[in-house]
Each structure stands twice: as C-alpha cells, then as structure tokens.
Symmetry: C2
Subunit: 347 residues, 2 copies
DNA sequence: CTGTTAGCGCTTTCAT
DNA sequence: ATGAAAGCGCTAACAG
C-alpha cells in the first residue's frame, strides 16, 4: 500500500471487518480458517509457525488493514510498549533537545513516548509519576524535584532513569559539572575577574550542586562569589535580576541557564547597560538562540540531545534500567562575545 | 498522603498487595468484603452506590495505594484516556508552545498526551498515525504533510484535528494569514520597499498558502516578489539562503519562520552584511528568541499556545471533534529592528 | 506446528 | 444497592 496511489478503492480502512470495528486477530483467524492463537504466533513469533501459513496470515492481516491493539496486548504481558518522560517545563528549550533525543531512540526501537509536564512542582511530579506508571514500561525523569529516596521507592514499581540531575539510587545521565564550571572559572580568572555572581534557582538539588561547586572553584582562584536567586529559570526571571546584579558590584555572572542569561542581556540592552563592558555573562546549556543574542552568549554547552538518547537507551535496556549508574557527559565552554576582561572602572 | 511526611512507614507503595503486584479492584473488594463490580461502581460512578460503602471502599483503595490500570479499563470501554500530537519536528520552537498548550489542556482534563515526530515525511506521518490510532482517543496533527482526503479517511477511525494548517474536512485551528501578511506587506510598502523575496519551503501546503498570498498582496501594492526556496525550515536553511537573497537584489525578505530568519541574520552578521541597511527581514511566529536577536526581529506573532489549546479543546470535545470547522486566530505584526526603509544605494 | 483453554483488570448488562 | 457473569483483544501455557 504505497502513497503513490493515494486513495484507491481498495483502501483497507473501510474494507471488510464489518461495521467500522477494527479487525482483530479473530477476524483474520476466521478468514484464513485458523485459530486466533496461531495468528498471534504467526504475527509475533516469526519462525514458530509454518512458513506457508504465516505468509497466508500476514497477507490476510494486510488485506484487512489489521493493527495490533496495544492495550489488549499489554494486559496479559504487563508490557505497554510506551515510556514516559516527565519534566518540569516543556517550554524550556533545554528540554527540547533532550526530548528529541529520547523520542528518537524510543521511536527507533518501536516504543511510544508520553510527555508530561510537572510545572516544577514536586507534588505534581509525584502525582504524575504514580498516575503514569501503570501505562508505561518505565520513566525518564528530567531535573526532578523529588528526593533520591522518593524516586527510589517509585522505581520499585517501574524503572526510572534520571536525566540532567543525579539520583544516586538510579541510573543517571548528567553533564560533567566539574569540567564545565572549572573551564568557566578559569576563563573568568584568565580574563582578570575578581568577583562573580551565581544567578541561581535557590533550593533545587540540581541548582545546589552548581552553586556549591561554583563557590568552591571561585574561592580556590581568589574570586569572590555571591549567590543571587531568580524566581524562575526563565527570560523574565533573568531580566528581573539585573538590578540585583548591578547592586552587587560583581564584574561577572554565571547564569543558571541560557534563558536567565538571555533575560539579563535583554534587560541590560533595554536599560542602556553596555555588555560585556559593565559585566561579563556566562550562560548554561547553549540553547540554539545563544549565538543569536547580542552580544552572542558565552555559555557552557550541555550535550542535551545526547543526554536524552543515552538516558532513553538505558531506560529501554532491561539489563541496565534497574541498576544505579552514572553516565557523565562532557560540558564544554563556548566562548563568544558576552565575556571580556573587566573594564578598569568597574574593577 | 502529603509530602510533608516524606517517607513514613505507611507508604502505600510497598504495603499490602502481596508481592509487589499492583493492587487491583479485586484486592480492595476482598479487603472490604464486597464484589469487584461494586468497587468499580463506587470508584467511578459517584452516587450510584451506598454512601457508607463508597466511603469504605475509597478508604481501602487509598490504604492499598490503588491506581486504576488504564490499559485494563480501555479494553471494555474502547476509550484510552490519551491523545496524540503528531508533528514534523519536535525541535522547532514553534511547536513547543503548541505542544505546551495542548498538553496543558489535556492534563487539566485528565488526559495523557503522546508526542510523536514525523521528520517532515508524509509516509512516516501516515505510518505514525495508523500505529498510534488504537492507543488513543484522537489525534492532533500539526502542519500535516498529508492531503485532506487522506486525513479525512484516517479520521473515520479516530477523530483528528488539524493545527497550524487547514484541512477542509477536519476541524482546523490556524492563524489568520490574510491579516498577518497584509500587515507585513503594508509595513514594507509604507517603508518604501519595492521588492520582496519570500523565503519558503517549496511544495508544502502550509507554505503554498503563504506564498500565494504574499504574491497577491505584493502585486497589489506594486511590489515585485520572488520566491526563494530553503532546504529546511531551520537556522541552517536560512543561513544557507543568504547568497541567493543578495543575488536577487531585493530590499526585503519575508521568511517562512523565525528560524529561517534567524539563520539569515546570523549569516549576514558573520558575513559582514549590515542589517537592516542591506535588506529588511520579517520573520514568522515570534518565537521567544526573536526579540533577543541582533537586530531584534520584526515578525508575525502567531498565537501558538492558543492554537494548541484551542485545537486540543475541540479534540477532546465529542460534539466538535468530528465536524469540519475552522478557527482562525489573529496573526499580528510585531515591529522591531530588522525592518527599515531601504537605503538609497540599494533602492 | 496448531488448537484449547485460561486469564490479564476492568466495565457492564442482567439478576437478585 | 449489590452480586454474578460475560467479554474487551491478546498472549501463554498446555495438549495434541
């Protein structure tokens, strides 16, 4: 049935299978005069049935336009053929690439992907996971707000892998923070900066890890560091922080992500604040718009797509989806225009 | 069960229901000494059962940590409680707002959303839809590559609504092209432009509609118009078109979408071409990065989020998801920095 | 290699 | 108001 012959009268859709009902294996069994279980075997266990009858069955199936009903199959097998990805915010471009990576792996392996958003709420995340569990064979949890023990408890039901944040009890796929932040701090240090503000999210696990490390690395290099908290990891959140950044007197800022950095750039621009002259900005993730901004954003490039693919690969692998592990992917500094030596005045 | 008491020993997860198996209505029936069918009623048809026993049943269900198994439910009812959204490219930011709108409506109504990508291939789109159909109660098809008749045929099985492109046989939710393109052409005309290039996608339905209308409106205003085709509606595609745009000698370009426009801006910037001095650029969609670009992008703001919500609302409404209709949402011109009067030299 | 028979968890008549 | 029983479409022993 090729698309070249658009809508010939032999379209399977309306044919046979009386009254619109989707054809079942019973329909095809009857048509070829065999037992439904034989049909099931022929269709799903290649080789475990006579080649001739298998052919006959496949032909009949095609003719009737038969498609297996995944719901019906999942009942006896307990397998659903679908996985879920649950994340705080679908809209965040960071998650685009991650979702895409996961989706492609899933689809390539014949699985279906459910996408669910938790609005960055731990309660909703818990509720979402519990609700989804019976419908899936496993979950990919991105930047979870739940504690490791909670996730571990949930994972007893169906496998869970963590992406973009570390959960010691689960398989996790994360960027190499040490590598990335070290490069960022070295860059700032080489440029001659003596102070930095970390524009973070407050008490979220994934954020804490970044801030602790930043503080560490800064101190080591004799750079003073302060934390400034944004309400949300968004453009608006970043824009809103401009006043506090300026008030702090720092010559450089490290943003929680590129969205926040973008907000800062935008606010600076519309407020007549020159960047990077007034202060340098380093983002996080390298979303596609980073190089489009003015000034183009210096940022830590997170291998989002690969995080998604790797995470999904371990999720669909029964050998690996239950055993704690940690895949650490490189996080590289991409230097563009938003960082420069601090100007004499502000120094 | 609140999160305030993180992991008390009464966590439902591991309690009762022998051996990890999820508790079923049989477990709760046995626990309260009633028939499973009564449990089913109590849980799903409020009022159709004695208030006291209903309470007892709900209590037992909560205690066991019972969750309905959607697969099992869907078998007798034929309803799955899930919808699918299928789109050409998950990565396109345009689709993200749309997905988000759809996802929120779905979730708010207690439905689950499956997201599937077709890589802009008609064959894959057809295959995807057919595969997904038995698992869902309906589909949201975005920027479909399929012909109206094909979609109509598929829609006999499960309802389909079209988003961001018009399918006469289906409910469709689209932006008001006439309104948007008229504003864009008026803007260019007012600025004094006498030529425009439409940077489009070639033979895709959604693209044809835009080009035809652009040609029309340009001619009416005495503006010459040419079509330049990009390989893909992406940043790379747009960047790649710079040479041809310059060669065409036009003073303004209308891009298929903001990604393409972004690519053009970027290529111009790195090629030392001054914008908007050399030529003006108008994008399409107003994705979040449009205002971040340099120069900030003048663009037609598409109500993506609302397209998603409206489309999903009509999809989940059994009264409307089967009858052809057309919801047209406003498409507004947002003037920023990438458009200006043509410079004397190029004029 | 193929047919028989249960049964997955839930809903839904039909009785009681 | 509740119970009994059948069935949704498919798979999986177990026989033959």
């Amino acid at each position: 049935m090729s698309r070249d012959e658009p809508n010939a009268s032999d379209e399977p859709v309306a044919t046979e299978g009386r009254a619109g009902r989707r054809p079942t294996i019973y329909d095809i069994a009857q048509k070829v005069g065999l037992n439904p279980s034989t049909v099931s075997r022929a269709l799903n266990k290649p080789g475990r049935t006579n080649a001739a009858t298998e052919e006959k069955i496949r032909a009949a199936a095609a003719e009737l336009g038969y498609r297996v009903n995944p719901m019906a199959r999942s009942l006896p097998t307990g397998l659903t053929g679908t996985f879920a990805i649950v994340l705080p915010d679908i809209t965040n471009p960071v998650h685009f690439e991650l979702i895409r990576g996961a989706e492609q792996v899933a689809r390539a392996s014949g699985f279906t992907l459910i996408v669910s958003e938790t609005e960055a709420s731990a309660d909703l995340e818990l509720e979402t996971i519990e609700t989804l569990q019976p419908s899936v064979d496993g979950l990919l949890v991105v930047a979870s707000r739940l504690a490791d023990e909670e996730l571990a408890a949930l994972a007893r039901e169906k496998p869970i892998v963590a992406a973009n944040h570390s959960a010691p009890s689960l398989p996790s796929v994360i960027p190499d923070l040490v590598m990335g932040l070290t490069a960022a701090m070295d860059h700032l240090h080489d440029l001659g900066h003596g102070s930095v503000a970390y524009l973070g999210l407050g008490d979220i696990q994934i954020n804490r890890a970044r801030w602790d490390l930043t503080l560490d690395l800064a101190t080591t290099r004799g750079i003073s560091a302060v934390e400034i908290t944004v309400d949300a990891p968004t453009v608006a959140g970043g824009a809103d922080a401009l006043r506090r950044v300026r008030a702090s007197g720092v010559t450089a800022v490290l943003a929680y992500n590129d969205l926040v950095a973008h907000g800062l750039l935008r606010a600076a621009r519309s407020g007549g604040v020159q960047l990077p002259e007034s202060f340098s900005v380093i983002g996080f993730d390298d979303i596609f718009s980073a190089e489009l901004a003015a000034p183009a954003l210096t940022t830590l490039r997170s291998p989002l797509r690969e995080i998604g693919t790797r995470a999904m690969q371990t999720l669909i692998d029964p050998e690996r989806n239950r055993v704690p592990s940690k895949v650490v992917l490189p996080l590289e500094l991409v230097v563009r225009e938003s960082t420069a030596a601090p100007s004499v005045r502000t120094r």
